[in-house]
Symmetry: C2
Subunit: 280 residues, 2 copies
Amino acid sequence: MTFIDQLQAATRANTSLLCVGLDPDPAKFPGRFRNDASRIHDFCAAIVDATADLACAFKPQIAYFAAHRAEDQLERLIAHIHRSAPQVPVILDAKRGDIGSTAEQYAIEAFERYGADAVTLSPFMGFDSVQPYLKHHGKGAFLLCRTSNPGGDDLQAQRLASIDGQPLVYEHVARLAQGPWNLNGQLGLVVGATYPNEIERVRALAPTLPLLIPGVGAQGGDAAATVRAGLRMQGDTITGPVVVNSSRAILYASAGDDFAAAARAAAERTRAELHAARSL
Amino acid sequence: MTFIDQLQAATRANTSLLCVGLDPDPAKFPGRFRNDASRIHDFCAAIVDATADLACAFKPQIAYFAAHRAEDQLERLIAHIHRSAPQVPVILDAKRGDIGSTAEQYAIEAFERYGADAVTLSPFMGFDSVQPYLKHHGKGAFLLCRTSNPGGDDLQAQRLASIDGQPLVYEHVARLAQGPWNLNGQLGLVVGATYPNEIERVRALAPTLPLLIPGVGAQGGDAAATVRAGLRMQGDTITGPVVVNSSRAILYASAGDDFAAAARAAAERTRAELHAARSL
């Protein structure tokens, strides 16, 4: 089963477009976990267990583990997800980007060491920095396209004079990912929720790629506008998938020991909001 | 002492423009270390000890450690470099690039956990993805500008219609790094050795930034052409520094148990070649 198949199956099984982002910051941990970096796995596993039937994907952000020397906890967490929520794929948010020989090492890290089903990547170094990940058949790779942070404009929103039709940089990335770079149908794109009209533009250029859309929740993106801009369906079949990520709004929904129930309630609300927007 | 000061001091003390890249691949390890991922630290430490008086910097590539669950060995290796070669700064080659809150975590990883003096970063997500690193005063950050791999053309060599003078993407990055992004003089640029005329172009746009130049040796770049294109001096003072990286040609100079002596000899040759080119 490829990552794309897993994603479609989880979306159907859990009636969900919601990706639960796992960005564990011990300083924000609730109740008894507060400031305890040795409990990163336990905190995240509790979130996973509370949302396993509500998510179409889980997305651990590796920086939050690396800053606390918690790679072993990340390994255990992904193994826990595969055990407790076997129907939900794991996207390792790493945004790697390096020459081929180094990319091969990062691909081993993501797919073999951690057992992730997909990874996020930067396209800045071009196709041969992406290709080594595609040799891991069935795994997915989301390329940064149009990011939701203010600095996203600095490069991604600039216009390219040297490419036919003078696309913006992010439009060029979308075309490459839908077309020549997508050798085995493994690619997707990262597009920030804070720019729905740009999600729509990316969707026009990449009609079938899964779009990973962070920025809903704490970052302020509008859930309904995001789904309308990015999701494409024919009848009941999703032809242009979206994976809408929310991290902080779910993880830190409560600062007390009821955090797991609060996370579940927050995930349920966002999932319902996203689902309602499907028919708009 | 800032990273830039450390780099200048090491360049003078060791009369060296050579950065020794530490990309440990156990399958290529010599003699008794062959295929033994538990000896990554020991192999790299032997290379460091053999070249400590020949290098202006050491550059461990984190992917090679991460693929083998060897983060603890990377920690010990950097501590070893600081002990055995206290005059030589460490550039952690990680090419991270993410939104501000995540970048803060990666900066903690690089500077606090690993104790690196500088880090490599991707500029694709813009200034706010770089800024968190600059809050670590005195540390350095090299932004990917023009990389030496074939796919470097896919984005970096495209022309920007929307920026004054229609620069190429990498020229735009060079200007941003020399100018508005370089808040406290901490930035440098990564420019591949395989394109000396582009090194010259970057140097014209960024006259004082340190240039980290990979691609000499195994990747085929010409050492002398690289130095001529990138180094700028006034009398005996370096006003435009270069840090020329060689990894595989040094690490794997011999497949036998004489690997450390062979690495030293290879480093001496490259250092001499780079030094001779200063006066050309």
